[in-house]
Subunit: 119 residues, 2 copies
């Protein structure tokens, strides 16, 4: 991830409605939620939510999916993880690098473990 991407993602998350929506979708998993459901749960006007979902989409943090007349939004877990890795990049190098928590995040970010197909 480049700094420009991280900035867009962080800016997207630094607004209450968007942060709440994102966390809702993170908890929801792959299926995601329809825009209207998100608006109901967060008690936000549809137009306002649409604006914010667009912002999250632009940041690559959520992905929209049309189903009939509903638009489902789901968290983009890869992007989320890339962002965490970016924030903890090189963590504590100056201390000798024994920074356990960051290492956990960083390691996986470097190379997503492909599910091994047993031949």
């Amino acid at each position: 991830m480049q700094i420009a991407d991280a900035l867009i993602a962080l800016a997207a998350l630094s607004q209450e409605t968007r942060l709440s929506a994102f966390r809702l979708l993170v908890a929801e998993g792959r299926q995601g939620l329809a825009a209207g459901v998100i608006a109901d749960r967060l008690r936000v006007a549809p137009a306002t939510l649409s604006f914010h979902l667009k912002e999250l989409t632009r940041a690559g943090l959520v992905v929209p999916r049309q189903e009939g007349r509903f638009v489902y939004y789901a968290a983009a877990f890869d992007q989320m993880h890339d962002l965490l890795a970016f924030l903890t990049d090189n963590c504590c190098v100056g201390d000798g690098g024994d920074c356990a928590p960051a290492a956990l995040v960083r390691r996986r970010a470097a190379r997503p473990p492909r599910p091994r197909t047993t031949a």
Copy 2:
């Protein structure tokens, strides 16, 4: 971490100079760097950097420490970790909870693993 704290932290990180400064300090480790050194490395006017460091401090992401006429700033690793945990909270609960990357972050956030003394 409460959502208000997360919003302040994310807003603090969603600005190029601040994000760069934070990452610099994350890499630097506990000792941190003097404000002037950060300003030099990032090629930012001292006054501008001071403004941004104040913002990062307010967000709890860095901690200032006076040493003589220098002010050293160091990353607040606990706060960084709390933020990551907040973002991945309840990750994929809707999928049954098999969300490996988030679980790593979350688990440690909930209860930092005390190094097991071989009694």
